[in-house]
């Protein structure tokens, strides 16, 4: 048993729903109690979908438990087939139905439906949403792909690939697919199948006809891509094209595998990121302390972009999906930070509060944490919210994606000259740092950021032990500290206190404050 307040991932059947809802002509019959239909609103509200997810829930109640829930499942599956006329039926159980052990797969097979039925095993008590999506995609690929089919002779045709991984409710999947498809087209490569998003069951049948696969979202597609590689000898492009550098490498890797000239792809370089980053206005971005958390793929990619393409300093890096912890650990080592691998949001909050970064790149959870702590934040990964489905096209991947990253990550920061002015005239009655970046009208105004070193009392969290328990501040030093802009004040307090504690100084005066500043000067 584990106490959870907020979760980064839903249960595995929600992952299965993301795959099915992305697909066409497919229906999912989920053995689940009344109430589990809440998952529909994730799709209709957050993603503003115009159709209900193609999912029938058996919605059993307690009175059904005494009778025959297996019969209820069969009736639901039969009615769903008749009503929705799918080409493919998936069947599975949510957490409660898993306990009933009704065997949806076995029951569905007794119905003799004239379409393929793929049973899903979704162990709710040990697995989570991404795993569920990955497993569902893998089962559909394995169940439908015609193993007799192969890519035809290369003579007289363009190289051909599949794009694997995008689903419903994915973070910018819609726009990434558009961006990357365009890039591949420019390279003279045909996209044979995009799956699961927008694919029909018959598209899955012909997966083997492509020369290679592009794994856009390893969390969802890696398992299936490995099977395709084993079965059809299709190599996978593994570079995830998030950021300018990674996009360039992606093009080269695609070029290698497809046997086309990467120059065709590189010619598509319309990214303004390199120049925007080199232009002198961006000097103030140098060494901005950034905390990064998300799914491993997005977090690792963000760390690279932050470091190499914006000149930030990564002070914290983590992910919530243990399945990909190895990749994240490797990246953390490279940036010299402790990897944070947890799905405990309180743990993440604690670490952000302690590190006092100037920018948080995270999920919707970190956006809330950052808001409470008065720190700027940009969202880089699922879990998503309605705001993560913008009306405009806003990819994370490819050259345009790099432009988007530059804009969205720089936007929450206090801008260059403004930062200088705040440093010079801290006590200005109109232009005070507590009002936050002036271009963000409704930026949360932190009353006093340094107090956030400790999570506010009203937050469910273990109280922090801080060095503040052992050392005290002279009034002069305290008021000098308040003249430091809010976005670095917390760090200054923490540094000064640990500096004092290490040297056995029990009372901090102005000299201690500046000694510590000199000591920690970056």
């Amino acid at each position: 048993m584990k106490l959870t307040v907020w979760t980064y991932e839903g249960p595995p059947h929600v992952g299965a729903m993301r795959v099915v809802t992305g697909m066409r002509d497919t229906h999912f019959v989920l053995h689940a109690p009344q109430g589990d239909t809440y998952a529909d609103l994730l799709f209709t509200m957050i993603e503003r979908r115009k159709e209900r997810p193609p999912v029938t829930f058996t919605t059993f109640q307690s009175r059904d438990l005494g009778k025959d829930t297996a019969e209820l499942f069969k009736d639901s599956a039969k009615e769903a087939y008749e009503r929705f006329d799918p080409q493919l039926l998936l069947v599975g159980a949510s957490c409660t139905a898993e306990l009933l052990q009704d065997d949806p797969g076995g029951l569905a097979s007794t119905l003799g439906l004239p379409v393929p039925v793929i049973p899903l095993e979704l162990p709710s008590y040990s697995r989570k949403e991404n795993w569920g999506a990955s497993e569902t995609f893998y089962q559909v690929v394995r169940g439908l792909a015609d193993t007799e089919r192969r890519a035809p002779s290369k003579e007289g045709r363009k190289p051909r690939c599949n794009i694997l991984g995008p689903t419903a409710l994915g973070f910018r999947h819609r726009d990434d697919v558009k961006e990357i498809s365009g890039l591949l087209r420019a390279m003279g490569i045909d996209v044979s199948v995009v799956a699961p998003m927008s694919a029909t069951p018959s598209d899955f049948v012909r997966l083997g006809e492509a020369d290679f696969n592009i794994v856009l979202y390893p969390e969802i597609a890696e398992t299936a891509a490995k099977w395709l590689e084993r079965t059809f000898g299709q190599p996978s492009v593994k570079t995830v094209p998030i950021g300018y550098g990674a996009t360039t490498e992606f093009i080269k890797e695609v070029g290698d595998i497809a046997g086309v000239d990467p120059a065709l792809g590189l010619a598509q370089d319309e990214s303004r990121l390199p120049w925007w980053s080199r232009s002198i206005d961006s000097t103030y971005l140098t060494g901005k302390r950034v905390f990064i958390f998300g799914d491993a793929t997005h977090a690792v990619a963000a760390a690279r972009v932050a470091t190499e393409e914006l000149g930030f300093k990564v002070v914290g890096l983590g992910c919530y999906n243990r399945e990909f912890a190895r990749d994240l650990r490797a990246a953390a080592k490279e940036y010299g930070v402790e990897p944070l691998i947890t799905d405990d949001y309180l743990e993440v909050e604690r670490q952000i509060a302690e590190l006092q970064p100037e920018l948080v790149l995270g999920t919707q959870m970190e956006r809330h944490i950052a808001k409470r702590l008065g720190i700027g934040c940009a969202v880089i990964s699922a879990p998503v919210h309605v705001q993560d489905f913008p009306a405009r096209t806003s990819p994370q991947m490819g050259f345009e994606g790099a432009n988007v990253l530059f804009d969205t990550w720089v936007h929450p920061l206090v801008m260059g000259l403004e930062e200088h002015l705040l440093n010079m005239f801290r006590d200005d009655f109109e232009f005070s740092d507590s009002s936050g970046p002036s271009h963000l009208a409704n930026h949360a105004s932190p009353a006093s950021a340094d107090e956030h070193v400790q999570p506010a009392d009203n937050v469910v969290a273990f109280p922090e032990e801080t060095a503040g328990d052992q050392v005290t501040w002279e009034a002069d030093a305290e008021s000098e500290l308040r003249k430091i802009p809010f976005f670095v004040r917390g760090k200054a307090r923490r540094n000064t206190e640990s500096y004092a504690a290490e040297r056995g100084i029990s009372v901090i005066n102005i000299a201690t404050l500046y000694d510590a500043k000199a000591h920690f000067a970056r």
Binding site: M1, K2, L3, T4, V5, W6, T7, E9, G10, P11, H13, V14, P33, Q34, G35, D36, T37, Y38, A39, D40, L41, L42, T44, M45, R48, R49, K50, E51, R52, T58, T59, F60, Q61, S62, D64, L65, S76, E79, R83, S94, C95, T96, L99, L100, P123, S124, Y125, S126, K128, Q364, M365, H368, R372, H385, N458, V459, V460, A461, F462, P463
Partner: protein, 434 residues
């Protein structure tokens, strides 16, 4: 009021020779597109300020709670989920020991919690985890500082607002007894926004009705007393179990329409006033200003909504009282009024004012109901969040029903706000040229 209703009804009869003399009720089985009772935690944890709701369930329960409101509420979450893991189910861990440990950790870091609810879920019920026993054991350990209660918010037992019913019912045995010699007291049952409670309290005071208490209270140390001299008014239509356990403690249910709009609120207050033998002149004088204000605030919406048709999908059990309000006070025409569960006795007064040609449906087969709704082409459809956008995309205007549970909508002063919630989708349709 009853006579005016009869007149209205017979005028309908005159207009329409096929006017039914008996109401049609559709009872359906099939997929139910409804929330489970855990959802009530989203408002109950804000209402009872020193309570914590610990769901003993699965990742699905935790995911529901953070998704249910359509937004994640990050301010002071006084709820959490103890997620059952494989080892709990495989018997490798004693679930009760695990629960005790989690509760100990929780109470250690939240010493301000005076009332802890262990909330049962679908999985905890299927594995027959006895949370009643756990609550007794933990209460014995943590009282007098913290009382531990339990109820079920599971989807197999409860639909949406029934979670509040189960929660309040679990509190009733802990309410102190009234002094049998004391004069009659009034208990208002059902979680209300603080501002609405204040308004009702002022009216009861002016009418000389009292003492008045509210269940649930804002703080668990302000539990209202209950006994044979208690009369209770239901502020919400979904409190069947709570009413039953209150009656088992001797309290008497005051039957009335639910307090929505000018007429509903008048009838609701009138029911209490009659019991307290409030002078009719005084009653009229006290409520007149608020009642007139309510009617004034409804007038402009009546112009927008009159003769418009409305279709309710089942959701919160508020459907029948709200359909009564829309029909009687705003002139809307309810085509179908779905409710997850029909409590005939509690709905009696509202049903009396609902036109007989408004079809009731109890339970749900969502696909069939969607067919009926699309065929009926109502001007406004009241439905859950999972259905709203798909119906909008098919050209229907919708009102999310969850907003009716999350907004102050009871009483005279909120009558206009309540009408506005229904008028807004139609208003928006008029504005948009895209």
């Amino acid at each position: 009021m009853a006579s005016s209703f009869a007149t209205q009804d017979s005028s309908h009869l005159a207009d329409c020779p096929t006017q039914p003399t008996k109401r049609r009720i559709v009872r359906e089985r099939g997929q139910r597109e409804v929330f489970c009772g855990l959802t009530g935690i989203v408002w109950l944890h804000r209402k009872i300020q020193d309570a914590f709701f610990l769901v003993v369930g699965s990742r699905t329960c935790a995911h529901l709670l953070q998704s249910a409101a359509g937004v994640m509420i990050f301010a002071e979450p006084r709820f959490g989920t103890a997620i059952l893991e494989e080892r709990d189910l495989a018997g490798m861990a004693d679930a009760h020991e695990e629960l005790d440990r989690e509760v100990e950790r929780l109470l250690a870091r939240r010493p301000d919690i005076k009332l802890l609810f262990l909330v049962g879920s679908c999985p905890s019920e299927v594995i027959k985890l006895d949370l009643g026993r756990a609550a007794e054991r933990l209460s014995a350990k943590y009282l007098p500082k913290t009382r531990v209660l339990n109820y079920s918010g599971s989807g197999i037992e409860t639909t949406f607002t029934q979670g509040e019913d189960a929660c309040l019912a679990s509190m009733v045995p802990t309410l102190p007894a009234t002094d049998p010699a004391a004069p009659a007291n009034l208990l208002v049952v059902g979680a209300l926004p603080d501002i609405v409670e204040g308004q009702f309290k002022r009216i009861f005071d002016e009418l000389g009705i009292g003492p008045v208490a509210f269940l649930p209270p804002s703080r668990s140390d302000e539990l209202p007393p209950v006994g044979a001299n208690t009369h209770f008014l239901l502020a919400q239509p979904f409190l069947g179990d709570t009413a039953r356990v209150l009656e088992s403690r001797g309290a008497k249910h005051v039957s009335a329409s639910f307090p929505f709009g000018a007429e509903g609120t008048t009838a609701w207050l009138q029911a209490a006033a009659s019991l307290w033998n409030v002078d009719p002149m005084l009653f009229r004088k006290v409520i007149a200003p608020s009642r007139e204000r309510a009617k004034r605030s409804l007038a402009p919406y009546r112009q927008q909504l009159e003769e418009k048709t409305v279709f309710f999908f089942p959701d919160s059990q508020l459907e029948i009282p709200l359909a009564r309000f829309l029909s009687q006070e705003l002139g809307m025409i309810p085509l179908e009024v779905g409710t997850p569960y029909l409590h005939r006795q509690h709905m009696e007064a509202d049903l009396e004012h609902l036109p007989l040609n408004a079809q009731l449906s109890e339970g749900q087969n969502v696909d069939k109901q969607l067919d009926r709704c699309l065929a009926a082409k109502p001007d406004l459809t009241v439905c859950g969040l999972g259905l709203a956008n798909p119906l909008e995309a098919q050209g229907l205007r919708t009102k999310w029903s969850i907003e009716l549970v999350f907004s102050p909508v009871h009483g005279f002063e909120q009558a206009g706000d309540l009408a506005e919630l229904f008028a807004r989708p139609l208003n928006r349709q008029e504005r948009l040229a895209v």
